[in-house]
């Protein structure tokens, strides 16, 4: 059963970078504006998972001292969680503002295809 442990040690990083790369593929190749925005959202989720998985220590608990038995030596690193909290909310703000710009673009050009919108510029 040793191979399960080896796979487990790499699985979070592989999962996080897999999400980032699938999101990057969607941004680079797809031509529909909403698909590109879904790709940006996937990149956000991947980066947040990667950051939180850096602070994990095996065998220790969450950094909340709710009872007197919890020692500061038995607790995981609290800094990545505090940074990811801000990052999630800012990801929502960026998504909301981009969607409003997309609605206005559709009202003007009547299409959501970026190759056609570039063509109309000339």
């Amino acid at each position: 059963m040793n191979w399960i442990e080896t796979v487990y040690n790499y699985s979070y990083f592989v999962g996080a970078f897999g999400l980032i790369m699938i999101g990057l593929y969607a941004v680079m190749v797809k031509t529909n504006l909403i698909k590109i925005l879904i790709g940006i959202n996937l990149i956000d989720v991947g980066v947040n998972i990667f950051l939180v998985s850096l602070g994990y220590i095996k065998g220790k608990g969450a950094p909340i001292f709710s009872s007197a038995k919890i020692n500061p030596a038995n607790v995981i690193d609290p800094i990545p969680q505090a940074l990811v909290l801000t990052a999630i909310v800012i990801g929502l703000a960026v998504t909301a503002l981009s969607l409003s710009v997309i609605i206005k673009l559709y009202g003007h050009y009547k299409t959501l295809d970026i190759s056609k919108i570039r063509e109309m510029r000339w």
């Binding site: 790499y10 970078f17 593929y25 909340i64 505090a82 801000t86 503002l97 609605i103």
Partner: protein
């Protein structure tokens, strides 16, 4: 053609990622803990350990992440509050102009059924109360201003889905949001001008560890942030609906 170039770029990216991740050990120790052996004369400890050990003396709050977000990294919270405010303002400007040009489509194809409407009306005050509970007890249990604010926005979201003509008063929401942001900055400036430290949290006595009235000014700041985030996200979600 585009797909082949994209795949090649991603393969190069994978190669660099693999070379970086090879040295990481998952779940081993603190992030900066290895530097202790390499410095000769000074003892450098990881920042996470420093925050964990000095938290009880300086801030007296049971939730370490709350004390990091409000007290140790307070400027990041100020930046996040600014970004949310800018996003909500920009949405209000852009989407208002679109709505004037839009002619009247069919308002709704089907109203939700009676079960959904009754259940939503019963559940709405309970979820609202849960959100308020989460941001009042931010320094004792997992939670805080941002989490409680989003739970309040989810309660309003449920009402938007169940009733097609549910209107909220935008003037009240915008004024609550602006007044909360102003109060947060005023508290920070009072500390700066009077005592020399932005967001000085000792102005209210610290109290007993792990009780409701502890941790100085942290619960007050988080209650204000909770109001701000809740009203802001509700206004953001409401901007996309047709009937204002």
């Amino acid at each position: 053609m585009k797909k082949i170039i994209a795949t090649l770029i991603l393969l190069v990216f994978t190669f660099y990622v693999y070379n970086t991740i090879k040295g990481f050990k998952f779940g081993h120790d603190f992030i900066g803990a290895k530097t202790q052996n390499k410095t000769i004369s000074k003892k450098i400890e990881p920042a996470g350990k420093h925050y964990l050990e000095n938290n009880k003396l300086e801030n007296n709050s049971a939730n370490v992440i709350t004390s990091i977000v409000v007290s140790y990294r307070g400027f990041d919270t100020l930046g996040e509050v600014t970004v949310l405010f800018l996003a909500a303002t920009g949405l209000g400007v852009i989407l208002t102009i679109v709505r004037k040009e839009d002619d009247d489509e069919e308002s709704s194809e089907r109203e939700p059924s009676l079960i959904v409407k009754t259940a939503a009306r019963i559940l709405f005050p309970l979820i609202f109360l849960f959100g308020v509970y989460v941001f009042i007890h931010g320094h004792l249990t997992p939670g805080g201003g941002f989490q409680g604010g989003t739970i309040i926005a989810t309660a309003y979201l449920m009402m938007f889905l169940s009733y097609s003509n549910f209107k909220i008063n935008h003037t009240i929401f915008k004024s609550i949001e602006s007044l909360s942001g102003l109060t947060f900055i005023t508290i920070g400036l009072v500390g700066l001008l009077g005592f020399g430290m932005f967001l000085k949290l000792d102005l209210i006595p610290m109290g007993v560890f792990n009780s409701l009235f502890s941790a100085g000014l942290i619960p007050v700041v988080y209650i204000i942030v909770g109001f701000k985030v809740g009203s802001e996200l509700t206004a953001v979600v409401d901007s996309y609906r047709e009937n204002w």
